[in-house]
């Protein structure tokens, strides 16, 4: 037992370094070639395949699987990248259980879909690990496009624009590109610095400059970008975090889950990263699961996800719920936080049981108190820092087909744009489609 395991409060080193390393290993190990061949052989090459229909980026899945099956993972990767240049990270983080693999006819037949995500990873890894970038740029058009935000939508948009011959400058507020791929998903889904190497690989297309530490606001204005470039694509994500609306929510020990995940992703040494002994995560989405599971993997003794509605309403998939449960995370449903206890730092959280009346969650009056030295807020992110002139829809930037915003010459996509379901793969699709629309607008 590591010395820190029973320490109260926030403490680092609750597990040995070796245990932590093992805990944060690849969630889905890569296929060996024969495994891939066997997995690929299970594909029925469906007509008008349901998996492709379910893919937000419309990857021709039966084709790429057949290309793996015939011994050409490189050709398979090309099929994937043609539709989704971030096919590598999507293979790792896509909730395939609610997308392609849920639609797979073998899921219908046997409850065991073709493992499309792992096959996609096999194909894309083959090409990316060889350092090969299979695309080249069209002759330069002389047009310049500003992309704000180097997350999945921005990178996908930039790559497609660069490929079409445009010059692209990406303005990124953080010190590194990658967006949520780099800062926002569980470490065990993108091991080995994959997000950064994917950015490096993508930039091999040429024609893309990334300026980090450049956030929209201050000297970087939408008007300025419009003046300096022929088009602007906004992919600024959701920078704000919803509040609990519970007294004392700024108490030490209470933190945004996204900040914890980002710190964890950037940590040089996970053994030095502090985590509570009793951790409570408020929320029910992927961020909640990622924060909870990683707390457990760091050595927290008790980790609870407290979600205010029932299991069926939980945004995190059943697969993610089961993953959390398998790691020892307790899932509580129909509870909401109503009070925080602690003098210098958090010691407990009061939860009230809920019921849904006329579609609205209300408290029943019954409460339960959980010991908690760390509480993560994972109840959703909000648009933050969008230029005021932009029309919004449901709190996000309103867009029409092709990602056009209310301002001429300005496009938007990814989580900051209305519509979509805040998935990496959706962001990629929106970035790509906006690039095609921008291209059409710029060169006719």
């Amino acid at each position: 037992m590591a010395p820190g395991q029973m320490a109260s409060g926030l403490a680092a080193g609750r597990l040995t370094a070796a245990e932590i390393d093992a805990n944060f290993d690849d969630l889905h190990p890569a296929y060996a070639p024969h495994e891939a061949a066997v997995a690929a052989d299970r594909c029925y090459f469906c007509y008008d395949a349901p998996c492709t229909t379910a893919c937000p980026t419309d990857i021709d899945i039966p084709l790429f699987i057949r290309q793996i099956q015939t011994g050409q993972p490189e050709a398979a990767a090309r099929t994937i990248f043609d539709q989704n240049i971030l096919g590598g990270i999507c293979a790792r983080v896509c909730p395939t259980e609610t997308l392609c693999e849920e639609a797979c006819v073998r899921e219908t037949a046997e409850g065991k879909p073709v493992e499309i995500g792992r096959l996609q990873r096999y194909a894309t890894d083959t090409v990316m690990s060889a350092g090969v970038h299979p695309y080249s740029r069209a002759p330069e058009t002389g047009k310049s496009v500003a992309v704000v935000g180097a997350g999945p939508a921005g990178l996908a948009c930039a790559h497609r624009l660069a490929m079409l011959g445009h010059e692209v400058v990406i303005y990124e507020s953080r010190p590194k590109a990658g967006g949520l791929n780099e800062f926002g998903i569980a470490a065990y889904k993108a091991t080995g610095g994959f997000a950064q190497s994917e950015v490096d690989w993508l930039l091999q297309i040429g024609g893309i400059t990334i300026e980090t530490g450049r956030a929209l606001g201050g000297e970087l204005t939408l008007d300025g970008l419009k003046a300096d470039h022929d088009a602007v694509f906004l992919s600024i994500g959701l920078g704000g975090v919803n509040a609990l609306r519970v007294p004392d929510e700024n108490m030490p020990g209470v933190r945004n889950a996204v900040d914890f995940i980002a710190e964890l992703r950037q940590a040089e040494n996970l053994s030095a990263l502090a985590v509570g002994r009793n951790v409570v995560v408020i929320g029910g989405g992927m961020t909640a699961v990622d924060a909870a599971v990683q707390s457990k993997l760091l050595g927290a003794e008790n980790v609870t996800i407290a979600y205010r509605r029932g299991r069926d309403a939980m945004p995190a998939s059943r697969y993610e719920q089961d993953l959390a449960a398998s790691k020892g995370v307790r899932l509580m449903f129909n509870v909401m936080p109503v009070g925080l206890t602690g003098t210098e730092a958090l010691t407990a959280v009061d939860l009230e049981y809920t019921q849904v009346v006329d579609g609205r969650v209300t408290g029943t009056g019954e409460t339960v108190t959980l010991p908690a030295d760390q509480l993560f807020k994972a109840i959703g992110q909000t648009l933050d820092g969008a230029p005021g002139a932009l029309a919004l829809e449901g709190g996000k930037i309103a867009v029409s087909d092709g990602g056009r915003t209310s301002i001429d010459g300005v496009w938007a996509g990814g989580d900051c744009a209305a519509g979509g379901d805040d998935l990496t793969v959706t962001a990629v699709a929106e970035g790509r489609d906006a690039a095609m629309d921008i291209h059409k607008a710029l060169v006719g």
Partner: protein, 434 residues
């Protein structure tokens, strides 16, 4: 458990599964292991004439065709007959037969097409106490270049001549092993029959190239960058073999001639199918070479269980049962009308039936809202392609239309009577139905 004891040409064996003449039966060591594992008999790997034995290549002898998960579907080989001295083989055969009197031991032979050569070897084989001989007129590679093997099997006159020599100079059963590398298997079978053969066994291997190395463009198996056609066997050849067995079984000139069925027998079911088409027993090679001798335990147990389920007490109860149902196309009942029917409960909506029918057949399957696939009876010719490509067993079936109903494709009422091409009005040579 049904008794699998089989009498083939008066040779009794505890089950109908014999190992074919091939590498698994080249040596006493292997054959003893085979008998211990439960094989009913062996055909000892082909012996050649006295003198320096043949030599084999010193590189790969086998090439493969794979299915999913490297399942071996087809195997070819360029190995020749035994490369061990005749005397050694004969001594081993005698010892093994003496130790396993209840098992069948047949000796495969291949010597040049000269009577003296056969007269020389036959008495020596007889001395071993082996139950019979099998004349290897089948090997398509190597030996055929020297005027033996398939080179004999492709000339009916030679088959008849050599068979006759053997019958005249050997007093136990003579089985003639036929090559499939001909146009009509009935001619070599008739020749064997005319020469007095007690039985034919088939098929020997099929001339084949399994693959080509796309780096050095050598056929596989590759010997120093060159390849030679090999003999193909394994599950992939079973349909070809079964047709040839059936052709001999139903040929009026050879009807009743015992047949030992060979070609891709891998399971009890394969054996039951061969035997229903007229084979009195079966010979196996590739399955043993793929899985080892223990595979026979599935074959014997499976055949026995199936016989119990069907109420058969002897293999004789079902040998040849399918032969009367093998006919010529011209006698198939053209009044029989079926339509494909898709079981929506079982359908997993892959759409393979639709792609196959729409792209390559009769546009008889509708793809409706929600990926519902339905058969359009007005176009369906009951070709069975949808059944064959459907990944779900029994999801699509061919349902016979009842007499008196109207086929929406032709507008004609389905007739209860039988009518075939020989009387069809579109047949220029048709005779008026009486």
């Amino acid at each position: 458990m049904a008794d699998l004891t089989t009498d083939f040409l008066g040779i009794s064996s505890p089950n109908p599964f014999w190992l074919a003449s091939a590498p698994p039966t080249d040596k006493e060591y292997n054959v003893r292991r085979a008998f211990e594992a439960g094989w009913g008999g062996v055909v000892w790997k082909t012996l050649g004439a006295e003198g320096p034995p043949v030599v084999n290549v010193n590189g790969p002898r086998y090439g493969a065709l794979y299915g999913a998960d490297r399942r071996l579907l087809g195997l070819n080989n360029i190995e020749l007959i035994t490369d061990r001295p005749l005397e050694v083989n004969l001594e081993e055969i005698a010892r093994v037969k003496s130790d396993y009197p209840d098992r069948a031991v047949i000796v495969s032979l291949m010597v040049p097409c000269e009577e003296a050569e056969w007269k020389a070897i036959l008495p020596r084989v007889a001395e071993t106490g082996a139950d019979g001989i099998e004349l290897n007129f089948g090997c398509p590679h190597g030996m055929s270049e020297r005027g033996m093997g398939a080179a004999v099997g492709q000339v009916p006159e030679y088959i008849e001549m050599v068979t006759r020599w053997c019958k005249e100079n050997y007093d136990r059963p003579v089985i003639v092993k036929l090559t499939p590398n001909i146009t009509d298997i009935r001619y070599p079978a008739r020749a064997a029959h005319n020469g007095g053969a007690d039985a034919v066994s088939l098929i020997n291997t099929i001339s084949s190239i399994t693959s080509v190395n796309l780096d050095n463009f050598s056929p596989e198996p590759s010997i120093d960058g060159k390849g030679s056609h090999g003999g193909y066997c394994g599950p992939a050849v079973k349909p070809i073999a079964m047709n040839m067995v059936a052709e001999i079984a139903r040929d009026p000139e050879t009807r009743g001639l015992p047949i030992s069925g060979i070609g891709g027998v891998t399971t009890w079911r394969d054996a039951a199918e061969f035997m229903s088409l007229g084979a009195g027993n079966v010979q196996v090679c590739t399955a043993a070479m793929t899985y080892g001798f223990r595979i026979v335990q599935e074959m014997t147990a499976g055949l026995s269980q199936w016989m119990d389920e069907k109420g058969y007490t002897s293999v004789q109860d079902f040998v040849g049962r399918a032969v009367p149902n093998v006919t010529d196309w011209q006698y198939l009942n053209l009044n029989y009308v079926a339509k494909a029917k898709i079981d929506q409960e079982q359908c997993i909506k892959c759409g393979r039936c639709y792609a196959a029918c729409e792209d390559t057949s009769h546009q008889a399957i509708w793809m409706k809202e929600g990926r519902v696939f339905e058969v359009n009876d007005a176009e369906c010719v009951a070709c069975n392609l949808c059944v064959d490509v459907c990944p779900v067993e029994n999801c699509i079936s061919m349902v016979e239309m009842a007499p008196g109903t109207v086929d929406p494709r032709t507008g004609r009422t389905v007739q209860d009577s039988y009518a075939n091409w020989t009387t069809h009005p579109n047949n220029p040579g048709a005779q008026a139905a009486e």
